[in-house]
Structure formats: structure tokens, C-alpha cells
């Protein structure tokens, strides 16, 4: 129980700090930066739900884009109803995940990875070609949320992140979370203890996509204008992947800190180096896999264990 309390206090401190920052600094640059960080933290947290089952998705951008476009379509044809947009964005993304998962999650891991990548690319081509409804390559624009008030926008992104974080904890402690651990290690064992790997993988996939879709709907209202080439970009999928791995997939806190730290490092590099700073993601992936397979968070865990003994 003590550990739980400690965690809750930790989160309260962290989110309080994030909430106070704009008041202390009142600097739009910092607020924009933090909003971007929150978005990526949310994406990474959502990604991790599926990744914990051992399935590597390289197409997270697919659901991000689906969410954005659903929001855009609703805005265009029905009206500016953010809540409905968010819900539908999540549901449609979840549906796509259901279908895609049903097809590919029965297969070996690598096929799933290739399939997710293909899925995102297919959507990209489709969005580029479909002019009437989706605006084609010229993209689509929507009205901003909160009338472009960046502070409220930021707080909303914090709220979104907190919700996704809580959902992550629930799932982690639930049967899905337990099943994920078993599945990830050995699917035959999972079968023998009565866990149907495919069922739980699909479930995790749907939840992950659902959340990502919602973030997508929020995102398009934040930047107000998207084009397929950007919203379905492999860069997004890869960044999220790198952040989750760097932070450490096998805890809830890992992806959070992975995204936070990498985003900060990326911004710092962008300010200091002329070009090629995306190289950091490449290096992070390589180094993480070779030296820190359990991510940054494992460093803390090992320290705690050492303290006890």
C-alpha cells in the first residue's frame, strides 16, 4: 500500500508542476512545447498498451490520422461538436483495429509489424487521392478548440494525458495486463493457463487504437490544418515507438518518462544543432535495445531494489 501512495503522490507532484508552469512562466513558446510533449506522452502511453503484449506496431500514425480525419469529417458535414468528434474518432479507430487485429494478430509478430506499416501507408495514399470528402493532398482545415486560447488548450492536453494514464493503470492491473505479460513471454504457456492470446492481443489493440484516435481528434483542432503526408507519417509512428522503448515498456511509468525525456532532448538538440537531429531517435533505439532493454525506468527500479537490500 505504501508504494501505491508514493506513486499517487509522485503523479500529483508531476502534474501539479506541469499545471503551474504556464502560470509561472507565461511563455507561449513553453506552453506550445509542453502541449506537444503532452500529445506525444499520450500517444506513447496508448501505444504501450498494445506493445506490452509483445506486438510491435509501426503504424500508430494510422489511428492518429483516422481520429483526425473523423473529427474533420464531422466538423465539415455536421458541425463543430468536439465531444462527439472525440468519441466517434475513438470508436472508428477501434473498429479498424478490430478488423486489422483479427486478420494479423494470429500471425507471427513480424507480419503484424509489416501489416501495421502497410495499413498506415495505405491510408496515406487513400487520403491523398480522396479529394471530395477528405480534401485529398491539399489537406483539411478545422476550427480551433477553445478559440485558440493556448493555456486552456494546454490544460486540456494535460487532462487527456491524465485520463489516458489512469486507463493505463487500470489495464495494467487488470486481466488484460496480466495476460499481456504471459503472452509476451510465451504464447504457448498463455494457452495452457487458459489465456487466449489472440483475444487479448486484439483487445489491447482496440483500446490502444481507440485512445490514439481520440488524441488525433484533439490534435487536428490544435494545429487546425493537416495533410495526409504529415498525419500518417512514419516519423510519428517511429518516434512513439522509440519513446516507449526508451522509457521502458513493461511499466506504466516508463512510456511517460520516455516520451517526456526524449521530447525535451529533441527540442534541445533542435536549438543547438543545425540539421539531422532526428538522428537521436535512431541512436536511442539502437542503444536502448542493446544496453537498456527495459528502458530508463529499469534504472530506478534497480536502485529501489538495491536500497531495500
Amino acid at each position: 500500500m505504501n508504494k501505491k501512495l508514493l506513486l499517487i503522490i509522485l503523479w500529483i507532484i508531476i502534474f501539479s508542476a506541469f499545471s503551474i508552469l504556464p502560470i509561472v512562466y507565461n511563455n507561449p513558446y513553453i506552453i506550445h512545447l509542453l502541449t506537444g510533449i503532452m500529445i506525444y506522452i499520450s500517444l506513447t502511453l496508448s501505444f504501450a498498451i498494445l506493445a506490452r503484449t509483445g506486438q510491435v506496431s509501426i503504424g500508430q500514425a494510422a489511428f492518429f490520422g483516422i481520429g483526425s480525419y473523423i473529427a474533420a469529417i464531422i466538423c465539415k458535414y455536421i458541425g463543430f461538436y468536439p465531444f462527439i468528434e472525440f468519441v466517434l474518432a475513438g470508436i472508428v479507430s477501434g473498429l479498424f483495429a478490430l478488423i486489422l487485429g483479427f486478420i494479423t494478430l494470429r500471425l507471427k509478430g513480424i507480419y503484424f509489424s509489416i501489416a501495421t506499416l502497410s495499413f498506415a501507408q495505405t491510408l496515406l495514399v487513400f487520403a491523398n487521392m480522396e479529394r471530395k470528402i477528405l480534401g485529398g493532398a491539399t489537406g483539411v482545415a478545422v476550427k480551433p478548440l477553445f478559440n485558440n486560447n493556448i493555456s486552456i488548450n494546454y490544460y486540456f492536453s494535460i487532462l487527456l494525458t491524465i485520463i489516458i494514464l489512469i486507463i493505463n493503470y487500470f489495464i495494467f492491473k487488470s486481466k488484460i495486463g496480466y495476460a499481456s505479460i504471459v503472452i509476451r513471454n510465451d504464447e504457448r504457456v498463455a494457452n495452457s493457463v487458459g489465456i487466449n492470446p489472440v483475444k487479448y492481443k486484439i483487445l489491447a489493440f482496440i483500446i490502444s487504437a481507440f485512445l490514439t484516435g481520440i488524441i488525433g481528434a484533439y490534435y487536428i483542432h490544435y494545429v487546425t490544418f493537416i495533410v495526409p503526408d504529415e498525419i500518417f507519417s512514419t516519423n510519428i509512428s517511429v518516434s512513439v515507438l522509440a519513446m516507449a522503448i526508451f522509457g521502458g515498456l513493461f511499466t506504466v511509468e516508463g512510456p511517460f518518462f520516455g516520451a517526456l525525456i526524449l521530447k525535451i532532448i529533441e527540442e534541445y538538440l533542435r536549438l543547438k544543432i543545425k540539421y539531422g537531429h532526428l538522428i537521436i531517435y535512431g541512436l536511442i533505439l539502437i542503444l536502448s535495445v542493446l544496453f537498456l532493454p527495459e528502458g530508463i525506468i529499469s534504472v530506478f527500479k534497480k536502485m529501489k531494489i538495491k536500497k531495500r537490500s
Binding site: P28, Y29, H32, R131, G136, A137, P144, I261, L271, L278
Partner: protein
């Protein structure tokens, strides 16, 4: 164990860094003669646009150096702060906001992608900063921000480019009748195609109209399809790499229209990559180094002295130079850093730049301050770029049909 300690250090550092980003600025003591800061957001990494951004950087740096050599602006040193938008909207927004609110630049310049410009302007509009923008050619931007009194725009809009092409095609003797149009299916190609169709309507017959994917390894199918229509003119709106393949493969399959028209034919490596195969291709370009512009050859000499490593230059270099120059010029004429005075001075700009004569006038679709609207057609003849249209700026005749 050492590794773990290092990692802990990295974590702690990266959490402290953002604080250092902010706190540094607050402790600056106001000096007697603080430099005047101008901020530029350009693409330097993260995608295909980075090529143009790197060109822009040269022009900006040259202008900064020459301005400071001559004593700076209003007697104070000019400090140019260049930010990379990484070809991403979020980064572009963050960079622009940082320059305005944190660095407190006098004016914001630069720009390339229309999408990112749109997002940036949306985000910073409430500050009403002075924006003298050299990027963005999409009319969406003109509709939305052109009417703003603080927004000044240098680059010709998409429709200007297409207008020039159509005017050029009309000037050809004997006049071509049929056109095969192809365009990259992104926002750039699709919008350009729309405008081309609009201006060409009634004047030419477009017998072929297909998109293609930039970055493809193969265009033979596309070209075969176009060849079957036997067009007089083949007009492709695409990017440098794609042109290399399209021109080569057209030769391979024996597709030889009377005229081969592209956009921005002076990209670096054209001559080296294509050699003789690149001859007779004509392209629309905002600028060419051989244009009869006052002071241009002198500027070229100075540029090559500053940057001997950069042999070939695209139009972004003189445009970027003009971008920074005209802001400095306006501030000097305004005599102060007062926003309204600078805007007034900008509106009265009449400056000779290596890009051409720079004045701001309203443009066709709502923009208040548009600088450049006329482009030229440049044809490669004998491995040399020759301006062939309009006649008064031309250095040679347009060779048609392709021999």
C-alpha cells in the same frame, strides 16, 4: 553501474534543461547598444524541404553579414536567429512562437511550406507580429492571412506561377494545341494543377491529366500513357528527384513532345545529373542567375566570395537575401523599432534586390502586401540555363520544337 549513473545524469539534465532555456533570457542586462534581433523559421532537416531551407540559410547569412559590415541596422548590430521547423507544423509553431515571445524579435521572416505557414500564422496571429514571409505559395494562406496588415509576402502565389506558364505557352510560335499535364499528388502539385487548368481553359486542350507519386522509382507507365495521347506540350509539376527520372525515362521510351515543361528547372545537380539529356527542357522559375537585373552579377560575385563552397544556387538564395534586406531597409527608413512605423515603411518599400525590384502591392486573391508576382521561363540550352520568356528579360530564343 557506471552506465546507470550516467543515465541518471542524463535524466536529471534533461529535466533541468527546459528551465535553463527560459531562465537564461530573463537575466540579460540591458546593454547600451543591444543588437536588433530578427527571427527566421526555415526547414533545415526532417524531410525533402530541407534542401530549400539550406539554400535559404545561405541567402540569410550573406545578408546578415553584409548588413553588419555596413554598420548594422540603426547603428546597432543585426542578430539573425535561425530556427529549424523540421518540416513539422508543431515545431514550426513552437519556433515561431519562441522567436516572437522569448527572443522578442522585431520581425519574423523565412518560411517555406504552405501547410506549416498556415499553422504558424494561426498560432501567432494574436500577437500581430511583423511577418515578412518568403515562403508559402498556397492561396489558402493568401485568403486567410493576406488581408492582415502585419503580413507581407514575397514569394509568388501558386497562380502566378501557372499564369506565367500559360502566358509563355501562348507566346510560342507556332502555338501548341494539346497539353499533357501531370502533377505530384501532394498539396503542391494538386493546387498547381488546379490553377493551370483554370488559366489554360479555352486556350489549350488538356488531353492528359494524371497525378503521380513523388519519390517513385518508375514513371515509364505514366509517360507511356502520356505518349499515347501525342501531346504538343508535356507539363509536369513535381520535385527535383522525380524530374531526373521523368526526363531520363521519357528518352528511354521515346516520348518526345515538342515542348517539355517543368517547374523550378534550376535545382542543384540538374546539369551534373542529366548532362545532355537535360537540354531543351524549359521550366518556370521565379529567378535565374542570368536575368538582366541591376546589380545581380555583382551580387553573384560577392556571394561566391562569401561561400566559395556553394557553386550552384537556386532562387531561394537571392530571395532569402532580399527577405532580410528589405526588413533591414524598412527599419532603417522607419528610424525606430515602433511596429506601426516599420509597417508603414515596409509598405513604401522600393528596393533593388538580386531577386528583382521589390515593392509591395495588393494581389489578386485578397493579399495586401505582395512583392513578387512575375516569374520567368528558363530553358537549358547546351548545358546552360537561358532565360527565354518574357521577351524583355530574355537572354535567348526558346527552342521549339525540341530537335
Amino acid at each position: 553501474m557506471k552506465l546507470k549513473k550516467i543515465i541518471m545524469l542524463i535524466i536529471i539534465l534533461s529535466l533541468i534543461l527546459p528551465l535553463s532555456l527560459i531562465s537564461c533570457k530573463k537575466e540579460e542586462k540591458p546593454e547600451a547598444k543591444e543588437p536588433i534581433k530578427i527571427g527566421a523559421v526555415i526547414p533545415l532537416s526532417g524531410g525533402a524541404f530541407a534542401q530549400a531551407g539550406q539554400e535559404q540559410r545561405y541567402g540569410l547569412l550573406m545578408a546578415e553579414r553584409e548588413i553588419n559590415e555596413k554598420g548594422g541596422i540603426l547603428g546597432r548590430r543585426l542578430e539573425l536567429i535561425i530556427e529549424d521547423d523540421q518540416c513539422k507544423s508543431e515545431t514550426g509553431i513552437a519556433a515561431a512562437t519562441k522567436l516572437i515571445t522569448q527572443d522578442k524579435v522585431v520581425a519574423l521572416i523565412g518560411g517555406y511550406s504552405s501547410t506549416i505557414t498556415f499553422a504558424q500564422m494561426n498560432a501567432i496571429a494574436s500577437y500581430e507580429p511583423i511577418v515578412v514571409w518568403m515562403g508559402a505559395s498556397s492561396v489558402k494562406v493568401e485568403h486567410e492571412f493576406g488581408p492582415k496588415k502585419w503580413f507581407f509576402h514575397l514569394h509568388p502565389w501558386d497562380y502566378h506561377r501557372q499564369k506565367t506558364v500559360v502566358d509563355f505557352l501562348e507566346s510560342i510560335n507556332p502555338k501548341p494545341k494539346t497539353i499533357a499535364l501531370t502533377y505530384e499528388d501532394g498539396i503542391y502539385g494538386t493546387t498547381s494543377a488546379e490553377y493551370f487548368r483554370k488559366y489554360a481553359q479555352g486556350k489549350f486542350e488538356i488531353v492528359f491529366d494524371e497525378p503521380h507519386k513523388s519519390g517513385s522509382s518508375d514513371f515509364t507507365s505514366l509517360l507511356t500513357k502520356a505518349k499515347a495521347k501525342n501531346p504538343d506540350i508535356f507539363y509536369s509539376v513535381s520535385y527535383a528527384g522525380d524530374y531526373l527520372i521523368q526526363i531520363k525515362q521519357a528518352k528511354e521510351i521515346g516520348f518526345k513532345p515538342k515542348g517539355f515543361v517543368i517547374v523550378a528547372p534550376l535545382f542543384p545537380g540538374y546539369k551534373d545529373s542529366l548532362g545532355k539529356d537535360g537540354d531543351y527542357v524549359v521550366g518556370v522559375n521565379p529567378w535565374a542567375p542570368t536575368l538582366k537585373i541591376e546589380g545581380l552579377s555583382d551580387w553573384l560575385e560577392r556571394f561566391h566570395k562569401w561561400f566559395p563552397e556553394k557553386q550552384e544556387i537556386e532562387y531561394w538564395v537571392p530571395l532569402a537575401y532580399a527577405n532580410l534586406m528589405c526588413v533591414a531597409d524598412a527599419i532603417n527608413r522607419a528610424g525606430s523599432l515602433d511596429k506601426n512605423k516599420i509597417i508603414e515603411a515596409l509598405e513604401k518599400t522600393d528596393l533593388m534586390t538580386p531577386f528583382g525590384r521589390l515593392t509591395f502591392k495588393p494581389s489578386d486573391e485578397g493579399g495586401l502586401h505582395q512583392a513578387f508576382t512575375d516569374l520567368v521561363m528558363v530553358q537549358w540550352q547546351n548545358l546552360e540555363p537561358v532565360v527565354v520568356f518574357p521577351k524583355n528579360l530574355a537572354g535567348g530564343n526558346y527552342i521549339y520544337p525540341i530537335p
